[in-house]
Amino acid sequence: MSLTPVGLEHYLVVSAALFCLGVLGVILRRNLIVMYMSLELMLNAANLALVAFSRFNNDLNGQVMVFFIITVAAAEVAVGLALIVALYRKRQTAHVENLTTMKL
């Protein structure tokens, strides 16, 4: 990356790198909680891209979208973690390789 004046591309590159890190986390880590944290990383990368687009296109709608995404993500985290706790209570594990009930 060259040291040109920081523009939309720079933010988008950071956002893309962060998203790929999230994908990598979901692929590599086998712990449900850490996988869930990587999902949050991906959501945050999308938020960063939306805020950057909103700033550089002089359009505030993108930031309203991010506001709604944050709200929905908070609800999603609450439900997801409750599911993980319920699963742990039944199976005593949070490791995906031990959760193969639906395997054919």
């Binding site: 040291l3 004046p5 920081v6 523009g7 591309e9 720079h10 933010y11 988008l12 590159v13 950071v14 893309a16 790198a17 962060l18 790929c20 890190l21 999230g22 994908v23 990598l24 986390g25 692929i27 590599l28 712990n31 909680i33 850490v34 869930y36 944290m37 990587s38 949050e40 990383l41 945050n44 938020n47 960063l48 805020v51 909103s54 700033r55 550089f56 296109n57 002089n58 505030l60 930031q63 309203v64 991010v66 506001f67 944050i70 709200t71 929905v72 993500a73 908070a74 609800a75 985290v77 609450a78 439900v79 973690l81 409750a82 599911l83 993980i84 706790v85 319920a86 949070a94 490791h95």
Partner: protein, 166 residues
């Protein structure tokens, strides 16, 4: 000056993001959660650089505050000691890094070639005043629907965490 801050915050965000996913010193989920807090905080710095002041505050309050407390609470609740002993599968590591690296390369090359960001004179300010005005006029219905969604999530969580699931 602003550019220097951009590079500082971007480097911090990416470094802490790497440490969330793959930390060479500790495999403990608590460490991952702590680095996720740092990632989110430095991302709030990027939001401030983009003049999205309200969203930066919301990011710190909701993500670094509420969501991460929830994560840490669940990590403490579950017994995750065995995770610290597990090693990453070498073949899986190589395949994952190569495929995701290819994905990153494609996205970043596309961004470079697309020629977005010609506008170097942005003016929009994401202040609480302007965002609130939009939320309570143009986006009033989605705003109310989201409150119902939060209620539904709350009821669902209470149902899920009851002792005997039927």
């Amino acid at each position: 000056m602003q550019d220097a801050f951009f590079y500082l915050f971007a480097a911090l965000t990416l470094l802490c993001g790497v440490l969330v996913v793959w930390n060479p010193f500790s495999r403990n989920p608590v460490t991952s959660a702590m680095f996720l807090v740092l990632t989110i905080a430095s991302m709030a710095g990027l939001f401030v650089l983009l003049h999205a002041f309200f969203l930066a505050a919301v990011q710190v309050l909701v993500y670094a505050g509420a969501v991460m407390v929830l994560f840490l609470f669940v990590i403490m609740l579950l017994d995750l000691k065995e995770e610290t002993r597990r090693k990453l599968n070498r073949f899986g590591l190589a395949a994952g890094v190569i495929s995701v690296g290819a994905l990153a390369g494609i996205i970043i090359l596309t961004i470079g070639k697309s020629g977005v960001g010609a506008n170097l004179n942005p003016q929009v300010e994401g202040s609480t005043r302007s965002l609130g005005k939009m939320l309570f006029t143009q986006y009033l219905l989605p705003f109310e629907v989201v409150s119902v969604l939060l209620l539904v999530a709350m009821v669902g969580v209470i149902l899920l965490s009851k002792k005997d699931l039927k």
